[in-house]
């Protein structure tokens, strides 16, 4: 076990080195073993799914795939990429994600920025105004009735608007503006006769690229991954996002299909058997592709948000 380059020696400060006791080295060893176990537990299902997606369906169902691909085959992927429902869902999801992210980021920024200015009267009230919505939830049914009343049922607006703003994201954005747009800068701009709007557009926004990236990623991942609102608000299949398509293909059909005739059920089962794993991989791909990039920003966002105040 090497710590700090020297065996069993730990640097306490720049000058003092203390030899680690046997017990401590044993403890550290146990920690490494523990973390390795966690890694394996987390990684195994992911590797298995990917391997299964590029193996032949027979090899998967007969249990011959357990870690690496067996009988390499891209049949599942071909099936998925030629399935019109999946492609439609994919397209819808991309559109919803782009539209939703733009709406959400704009609303969040124009709400959070004023709250970050000390001279903005009413900021305490507006903070309370949004925090209260975190404490008490009106309920699923009243929410549904509002969407119904607005005539948004079975339209894309039901996906884009009801969850457009998240309180947490407003807090993160506000904290960012507070710490990175100094009040002195605002005062100086006011001396020069710059209006609040111009200042927001020409000074604050260019300074705020990191926070806009954080907000956009958080909202985009949320929208890409959500299915529930689509399930309750949408009826027409042409509007279904990918996650709802996935639910139909991967989950609903694996329950007993009571109101389906046997032939149809068998056909769907075979189809699903073929493309289950590749569907999982393909639908997660957009998010996983931005993951290395997103990880940094997500961590940043969480850290900004966790600063109290």
């Amino acid at each position: 076990m090497t710590v700090c380059g020297k065996k069993g020696v730990v640097q306490v400060s720049s000058k003092i080195w203390i030899k680690e006791s046997f017990g401590d080295r044993l403890f550290l060893g146990a920690i490494y073993v523990f973390l390795c176990c966690i890694m394996i537990v987390v990684l195994y299902p992911l590797i298995y799914i990917i391997s299964a997606s590029i193996s032949s369906p027979e090899a998967v169902t007969s249990g011959r795939v357990w870690l690496w691909p067996v009988d390499f085959s891209l049949q599942g992927y071909i099936e998925v990429l030629t399935n019109s429902d999946v492609i439609r869902g994919f397209r819808n999801s991309i559109l919803y994600t782009i539209g939703y992210t733009i709406i959400s980021v704009v609303l969040t920024v124009v709400f959070a920025y004023p709250l970050s200015r000390k001279s903005f009267y009413g900021r305490t009230f507006f903070m309370f105004f949004i925090l209260f919505t975190m404490l008490f939830y009106g309920g699923l049914i009243p929410e549904y009735l509002v969407v119904q009343k607005l005539g948004m049922l079975d339209t894309p607006w039901a996906i884009l608007l009801p969850k457009a703003m998240a309180v947490w994201q407003v807090i993160i954005a506000r904290t960012f503006f507070q710490s990175s747009v100094p009040d002195e800068l605002v005062e100086a701009s006011e001396m020069d006769g710059c209006s609040s709007l111009k200042f927001l557009w020409y000074v604050v926004l260019p300074l705020s690229k990191p926070i806009i990236a954080v907000l956009a990623l958080m909202y985009a991942v949320f929208q890409w991954n959500s299915y529930f609102d689509a399930m309750i608000f949408l009826k027409s299949e042409e509007l279904f996002p990918l996650q709802l398509e996935l639910r139909e293909l991967l989950i609903v059909q694996s329950d007993s299909g009571a109101n389906m005739d046997i032939a149809e059920q068998q056909r769907r089962e075979q189809l699903a058997n073929l493309m289950r794993y590749s569907l999982i991989v393909i639908s997660s791909l957009p998010v996983l592709m931005i993951y290395p990039f997103a990880q940094k920003y997500f961590v940043k966002g969480m850290l900004i948000g966790s600063v109290k105040g």
């Binding site: 920025y113 309370f128 009106g138 009243p142």
Partner: protein, 322 residues
């Protein structure tokens, strides 16, 4: 809006103070009127999609019908609440919701702390970064995909987990068709997905612990374990308390989108919770008033729990949300 702002700053003491508040408001409005205008759409958002449903929850005390709407429908008092509590199903639902939440809390609350403490012990480097990156990754997988993975991997006939079970000479287990296994499947798959993500906040708190305390502990000959116990844990206590309050405050709002997807007729006796019941009674059966009453009961219990835990936390550790 002006009136609203005055409520926000609810001073009604000295007249002088009041006029100076008014003065401040006027000055702010003159300076920032464009910002106030910009805030109108987000305010409308919160009013329409958050506050109107809160008011709309009054239909729990009415017999809602589409023709007369939320305000026109006749009042019926606590009729729907009584109907719910007289139904023996109610207690099963409450029991299922609480047991699932408490089990969930008992597993997913301590795990991220342990992971963060362990990660904090090892040196920065490729291994540490990989552990963080990989444990964090499942957070990005959608609920539908997670549930599909669970169904595929736990399938009694073809699932890989049961291949292992059989390999070691046991009978295959029908995890999802077994009401007793449902809670474990739900909780441990959540632990798999969220532990790495939740650890981030504790890692950040650990990074903020005063370095001098570590040096002092080392000089005093403290072992690693003693250092964790006496320096690390007290150092991240505020974060632990806040996360605990938030988790308890969300106890009744447990991830029901995932519960709903995991449900099947065989595990319904443990997997039916208050929120899935609300969804089925309300959206599917269009029993609006009754299901709103059940949902309202859920929200109120949640709020009360949050207030109690916050008060307790303040008393014990001096830290709270408000």
């Amino acid at each position: 809006m002006k009136q609203a702002m005055e409520i926000g700053h609810g001073y009604d003491g000295l007249k002088k103070k009041k006029t100076s508040q008014l003065h401040l408001a006027k000055r702010s409005f003159r300076k920032h009127w464009q910002l106030y205008l910009l805030m109108i759409p987000p305010i409308l958002y919160f009013v329409i999609f958050k506050y109107v449903p809160m008011v709309g929850a009054v239909i729990a005390f009415k017999d809602y019908n589409v023709v007369e709407g939320i305000f026109g429908s006749p009042w019926v008092g606590f009729k729907h609440f009584e109907a719910f509590f007289q139904n023996p199903v109610a207690w099963d639902l409450i029991k299922n919701t609480l047991l699932l939440s408490l089990y969930h809390l008992a597993v997913t609350f301590p795990l991220p702390i342990i992971l963060a403490l362990a990660l904090n012990e090892i040196k920065d480097g490729l291994f540490k970064r990989s552990v963080q990156m990989f444990t964090y990754a499942p957070y990005f997988i959608s609920t539908v995909v997670i549930v599909s993975m669970i169904i595929l991997m736990l399938s009694p006939r073809t699932g890989i987990i049961n291949s292992f079970v059989e390999f070691f000479g046991f009978e295959p287990i029908n995890f999802l068709g077994n009401a007793e296994m449902f809670r474990s499947v739900f909780v441990w798959s959540d632990a798999w997905q969220l532990t790495g993500y939740s650890a981030i906040i504790y890692l950040a708190a650990l990074a903020g612990v005063d370095k001098q305390q570590y040096e002092a502990a080392k000089m005093d000959g403290a072992s690693r374990l003693q250092k964790i116990w006496n320096v690390d844990i007290p150092g991240i206590m505020p974060a632990i308390v806040i996360i605990l309050i938030l988790s308890v405050g969300n106890l009744m709002a447990i991830g029901f989108e995932k519960v709903y997807l995991l449900q099947n007729p065989l595990n319904l006796s443990t997997s039916e919770i208050l929120q899935t019941y609300v969804y089925k009674m309300g959206i599917i059966n269009a029993n609006f008033s009754f299901s709103t009453a059940v949902g309202l009961f859920n929200s109120v219990v949640n709020l009360v729990l949050l207030i109690i835990v916050n008060a307790l936390a303040k008393k014990v550790s001096g830290d709270g949300l408000w």
